[in-house]
């Protein structure tokens, strides 16, 4: 391989994927630059704002902090996957995108944070929801609306997604 590229094999939105890239390529750049998946956004580049959240092996992580060499054999789900995959259909029913309002920049961060929470803990309560959302910054200050809608979803007590190991 030219230079010092690595060959990555991983699952992206439930599809087996292979990619060659330098080891220092960030996951956010792989997703946005290589695959054109612009749902995860770069707001800060240092893992503070939560705009770039994706699910890695079922857990919400900041894609701007993930170098390529840690992605091998991982299961990555982006907000596009959450919006389209059957495995997240129940979650979508409970959390339509209008929930998020505002300008929409942080919408994917909120949605992935909640997906990561409910996938691991379908019975998550108000404290867990608040905690999950605390990692996403909303420039519009739109938090109360998002928390409110997520809590209403909770009150309907549905199970979302598959349990992840």
């Amino acid at each position: 391989m030219p230079g010092n590229l690595i060959k990555l094999r991983f699952r992206l939105n439930e599809v087996e994927t292979t990619l060659q890239c330098p080891p220092g390529t960030r996951l956010i750049d792989i997703l946005r630059g290589h695959f054109g998946l612009e749902g995860a956004k770069e707001g800060c580049g240092v893992g503070e704002c939560g705009s770039c959240l994706v699910l890695k092996d079922g857990q919400a992580v900041n894609a701007c902090l993930i170098p390529a060499f840690t992605v091998a054999d991982a299961e990555i789900v982006t907000v596009e996957g959450i919006r389209s995959l059957r495995s997240f259909a129940e979650l979508r029913k409970g959390l339509p995108e209008e929930v998020f309002g505002g300008c929409g920049f942080c919408a994917s961060g909120f949605l992935v944070a909640l997906a990561g929470l409910f996938v691991g803990n379908p019975e998550a309560g108000e404290p867990e929801i608040r905690e999950a959302l605390s990692g996403v910054l909303c420039g519009c200050g739109n938090y109360p609306r998002v928390v409110d809608k997520a809590l209403r979803r909770l009150s309907r007590r549905r199970k979302y997604g598959r349990k992840r190991d």
Partner: protein, 294 residues
């Protein structure tokens, strides 16, 4: 360093890791990356400015084990904080649970590892005070051998902990002791240009209303891990509730021990004053708790 000149090693065993690191002591050890990546960013769409050699620890099973005996909990250094927290409040000492819960955001806790946080720069080592008061021990291994150190011996500098060449922090041994009171406070220092926090951890044991053991520890960017056995022994065998005069005397001695801080450094002045107030509040809480237990 051009982006594609970085070589990444993925050892699959602890022995392999130690041998590899011995041959490449200039390599950067990479666990969760939350301390490393922000300082190696080059901008949107650009590759990270990683050093020539990186050893990725995420594939070494021995670094991600948890084992438990009656007296100890051994936690692998590469376990994520969220994974450790999932063990629950009933397993982890409460003071440790509290300190781990306060690290970063939920997504950061899915990446931050125990070893990474311990080795972090002075401004970020959130859990040192909690581990110190419960006398946790840290295992350091190299190809040459193994040693155990206390938290205080991991002396963090501005850039991070200074281990011997070839040494890797492999696990943390947490004593499972019973304490009557666990206390942890984390006070952010955002207003003074710091991402760090003032952390205060304390535990106390008072069988039959007499203080058998009291441990207090502070850490902050402008205050390297502070714990004074002399202070802690001042109240040994004191009957609870501690009389106000005795508590104030301890607080006054703490104030003197902390020192005045660096001149013209607003942060260190605030940290020291707040540490004293937090200690005072803890002693009041200790008294209240002792009355509850009776």
């Amino acid at each position: 360093m051009a982006a594609n000149e970085t070589r990444v090693f993925r050892p699959k065993s602890l022995g392999g890791l130690l041998r590899l690191y011995a041959r490449n002591p200039d390599a950067m050890l990479y666990a969760g990356g939350t301390e490393i990546i922000p300082h190696h960013q080059r901008g949107s769409g650009r590759h990270l400015a990683l050093p020539e050699k990186v050893i990725y620890l995420g594939a070494v099973p021995d670094l991600a084990r948890i084992s438990r005996s009656q007296r100890f909990l051994d936690i692998g250094a590469c376990l994520s904080v969220s994974r450790i927290l999932s063990m629950g409040r009933n397993v982890l000492p409460p003071v440790l649970f509290a300190s781990l819960s306060g690290i970063g955001t939920p997504s950061i806790r899915n990446l931050v590892t125990l070893g990474g946080n311990l080795c972090a720069s002075q401004s970020r080592g959130d859990i040192r005070s909690a581990l110190s008061v419960i006398d946790a021990q840290i295992e350091l291994r190299s190809a040459a051998g193994t040693r155990w150190v206390g938290v205080a011996q991991l002396a963090p500098g501005v850039e991070g902990v200074d281990l011997s060449p070839g040494e890797v922090l492999t696990r943390v041994r947490v004593p499972l002791e019973e304490w009557d009171v666990h206390h942890f406070r984390k006070v952010p220092l955002e207003g003074l240009g710091s991402h760090g926090s003032l952390c205060f951890a304390a535990v106390a044991h008072f069988p039959k209303g007499a203080l058998d053991a009291l441990r207090l520890c502070f850490s902050a960017p402008s205050l390297p891990l502070f714990r004074s056995r002399t202070l802690e022994s001042r109240l040994k065998s004191a009957r609870l509730p501690i009389p106000a005069k005795q508590a104030e005397a301890l607080v006054a001695e703490l104030r003197v021990s902390l020192g005045p801080g660096r001149e013209a450094d607003r942060q260190s002045g605030y940290v020291r004053a707040t540490a004293v107030r937090l200690a005072r509040a803890f002693l009041a809480e200790l008294n209240a708790r002792s009355l509850e237990i009776r």
